[in-house]
Amino acid sequence: MTDYWLSKFIYDLQKPGAIPEYRADRGKVIARYPQLEPEVVQALLSDDVAFLAPRVNAYLLRYYFGFAGMSDEKFLAALHAMQPGTVSKEEAGETSHG
């Protein structure tokens, strides 16, 4: 389901000067969009690709994580982890067995 305000927030980050400001202080820019749901804000602040992906056009999602400074490699890894049948490290038991 498309989240209009999340989409609008990302779309507006294309404006000149917006990216450096966002990278310097995400909270300050996000605060201008009180319509954003708290869980969406949390996902923005924590770079949660899987949470945001179903809520926004895929091109805007890519733009957002580029604007936020995430590398292509990390973005791709997060996306690929969402594919059906992909097992997370936690599910595979690769953590907390030390």
Partner: protein, 273 residues
């Protein structure tokens, strides 16, 4: 009367511009050679004006206002806003009269496009224009086709748009040589869980279908498989419009390359007049 002088198509990918210096030398050579060949063919057609079909990558339009088809009817248009396209001209000459004529012809034939008197032409329009290294850019009529956000025009409707373009060019009342240029495709997936996947089998079937030319098999192929080939694959709609504008014949592939380094199954082609 105006004359249709050929149709042309090429893929675009932001990494062709943004990461040009980071691409393998062999990839740069292929991309350069194929765009040069396309530019050579376009130059040989001697167009005075060019209708360019591209998606809008959230540059002019947003969810507030998302036309299926928008025709640029201005005397000039803005260059690409993307920082990685900053070397491209900031202003691009439009052919306002031809744009208005296409819009009027469309409305008279029961199509309802939106119009724009000034568009910002993003990398979709401008990467092919830049990489073809044209000595002279014809005045353009940019047409945005919604290939990005559902609902999108059907393939059947894209064929109808291509035929409409051919009719509009043929009925333009002044002597003018007009080319049609499609940008985008072939298969690619952007920002999806499948990002980076290229469906080469689909791309090659698509090319074969354009070579055969018939509308029915192209429509059947795209309706059945385009969605699964990745969200960027929807840009093949622009190739369909160019194909129909050329009378669904004369397709000539310059090259096809599966290029994961730019995330796109890249194609370059032309249609004879």
């Amino acid at each position: 009367m105006a004359e249709f002088v050929g149709a042309f198509a090429a893929s675009h990918a932001p990494l062709i511009a943004r990461d040009w210096d980071k691409l393998p030398a062999a990839s740069r050579d292929i991309i350069t050679a194929d765009f040069r060949e396309l530019g050579k063919r376009l130059t040989a057609a001697k167009p005075d004006a060019m209708v360019i079909l591209s998606p809008d990558h959230w540059t002019n339009f947003f969810l507030d206002n998302l036309p299926s088809v928008c025709i640029g009817v201005g005397d000039s248009h803005d260059g690409p806003p993307e920082p990685f396209m900053k070397d491209f001209p900031r202003s691009i000459a439009g052919h306002a009269a031809l744009g208005r004529h296409i819009a009027a012809t469309a409305l008279n034939d029961d199509f309802e496009p939106s119009i724009s008197h000034r568009m910002a032409l993003d990398h979709g329009f401008c990467i092919p224009l830049q990489k073809m290294e044209l000595a002279r850019l014809p005045r353009i009529v940019p047409i945005v086709v919604n290939d990005l956000e559902p609902p999108m025009p059907s393939i059947k409707r894209c064929f109808a748009w291509g035929k409409l373009l051919a009719k509009a060019i043929a009925s333009y009342p002044e002597k003018l040589r007009v080319a049609v240029f499609a940008t985008g495709g072939l298969s690619h997936s952007i920002g999806e869980p499948t990002m980076g996947a290229i469906d080469e089998a689909f791309d090659r079937d698509c090319i074969k279908a354009f070579q055969k030319g018939d509308e029915g098999p192209i429509t059947a192929l795209l309706d059945a498989r385009m969605e699964a080939a990745g969200n960027g694959t929807h840009e093949v709609r622009n190739w369909v419009i160019a194909h129909a504008a050329a009378g669904s014949r004369g397709f000539d592939l310059i090259d096809y390359r599966n290029m994961p380094e730019v995330y796109v199954g890249c194609g370059w082609a032309s249609w004879s007049a």
